[in-house]
Point group: none
Chain length 193, copies 4
DNA sequence: CCATAACCGAGACGGTACGTCTGGTCTTCAA
DNA sequence: TTGAAGACCAGACGTACCGTCTCGGTTATGG
């Protein structure tokens, strides 16, 4: 539906990729520096060297900009790969342990809380919350595989379990609670018997 | 602990309980009606029939007012009691199922997301997140009891499990995901084997 | 002097004359109605249908707005022309008498006191005080002429005398003193022998 | 008029002279330091070590406190005595010259403008404006004497002339105009021929 | 020798206005 | 047509004072 008649061309200047990128970079930088609710459209515009209107033209709200920044993977540092030792429980313990350690670090804790605040007001950020915190489709597939391979009980609701794990991380961030190194292993042990 | 050093005495007029109550009631009402981030100090003051300065005198920020409102139990509707059938898994399934149903209702979903947004910026709200969502000390004690009675595996980390359950509810709220009626039962089944 | 360097041009929207005019009209109206020190920026903004920031963008203070309103001649009613009968003393007596009568009227008295209060805090209003009270350049020129024509003593310091006359009016306003009809004539008689 | 029925006496503690004095001193000090319109009741109370209510109990407004401070002679520095050389014109020239010099000094200029602002909103300050600026009853009497002694023209309206002189000083203050040393002599020469 | 009454410092209260900041829209000009 | 610049209306921010009102505590009469 955005196709145009053959021979026709858009008239006037076309959307500036430079402006778009610059907005997303500014957003990422300010989000990391000052958190979601000190983020302002004016601040982004100024940091990006872009007019406010340019932002309002292409995004509907602050949270939409943040959502796109998140999608582009510029918002949060990448998460560690899940190891593959053959022992799914050990692998998940390692992964969850790293996640717990991550949110225990004050800077990252603030980052995650900001992300949660953003998710609270923007549906599409909420939808990507799992991914953003490292609970990617790949991970889910891995667990699914293991279950089908008989390493896990067959009645385990994989999606629910992953959500609960992400939830544990989120609540930990919101409570500013630090964690014993063992907690991840115990939780995985309880969840995936 | 609010006692003052001997010999010292408060001088001048004393804090008005009427003003305090009126602020908390206004906060509860506006929070429910318009959500955390449309909440304003001016709005609360005006709704409460109180001067702005009276709010700034006793609270440091919007989130502090919300925190106190939460503590007073005025922020969220009360949660259902956990039934006591003797079967701890069934009881928890019932309880979690009700919680899931609760956040599936759009109004309550918005309420919970607002609460999460508030928790993201205020530590003491974060600390009370479990309680606020119904995962009270009573509940934890119940599970602990059942474990000691041998109904649950002895190595289960009760606190972690409860956090994961609350997390599941929170993430569900953030993802605006609705749930099959079975999800609660399955999750409990997986968690508490 | 507000011209900008050749080649440079203003970018962005241009100042709204409608907003400016509307602010000055609101100021004139509120000044007349309630006096200088019941005048508020918020009141002006609201009466003018303008955002507060628009006032702060273009004026530094309440007194600056009042000064500009005064310069535009919107603040005070026009003053009577000085008659020209050929007899400079009689003409000035008439003029000063009218001025005295003017400040004797309570509404106008309050207006003049407000103007004086404004002048006390804003230099440019002070500078225009003479003009605002009707002691215009034209009047000074008339006296100068008469002196040169030999109708008045040659050593008379015209500017000082005019200032003293305006001062007499001002002090009369500040003392809320009413005046015998004769005072103006007597004072002129004493001043311009 | 504040007398009470014979036989009756006030019961209870009597007005604290210390508090009264302390308020007036604080007022004088703050008036000199920051001017009339930066003067606040709270500032005075705090500076005086007195409760706000104590001020409101005894004075009706800020300007009333200032008026009383003025009456007590604490508001402005004392003015020079008028010399008595026998030549009334020379004496007045000296006096007015000193007054002009006084208001030419920026600190005093601000002081006089503050006084004028106070007079603009408080009648009793206005009434004392002449006295406060040194045009005391003594001075008026002196001129009156000289007139009766035939040194001045008999038809001179003494009160009007004095008011005009004070007015010249006031307008000079409002215009922030500095003066040639000769101005006072010339003006007296013109006024009292 | 109380009881009454008016004083005092302190400070909370409902308000108004301040001057600043941001949100979202609209206008102007250059490219 | 886009993008920068920036003015516009709107409205919340947090602060400063306003004038009124308790609150305890402190004098001074006068019954």
């Amino acid at each position: 539906m955005t196709a145009r008649p053959a021979g026709s061309r858009p008239r006037g200047a076309v959307r500036s990729e430079a402006a778009r990128t610059s907005v997303l970079e500014a957003t990422a930088s300010l989000f990391a520096a000052r958190g979601y609710d000190h983020l302002t459209i004016e601040g982004i515009a100024s940091e990006a060297g872009v007019a406010k209107q340019t932002i309002y033209r292409w995004w509907t709200s602050k949270s939409a900009v943040v959502a796109e920044t998140l999608i582009e993977g510029m918002l949060l540092p990448g998460h560690p790969e899940v190891p593959e030792t053959g022992d799914i429980r050990a692998d998940l313990s390692t992964w969850l342990g790293q996640l717990f350690q991550f949110v225990d670090e004050p800077t990252h804790n603030a980052l995650v809380r900001s992300l949660v605040a953003a998710a609270a007001e923007n549906e599409s950020i909420g939808e990507r919350l799992n991914d953003a915190l490292g609970a990617t489709a790949t991970l889910t597939a891995r667990i699914e595989c293991a279950r089908e391979a008989g390493e896990l009980a067959p009645e385990i609701p994989v999606q629910e379990v992953v959500t609960a794990l992400v939830g544990a991380v989120v609540v930990r961030a919101l409570r500013r609670a630090t964690t014993t190194p063992d907690a991840a292993r115990q939780l995985i042990g309880a969840l995936l018997h």
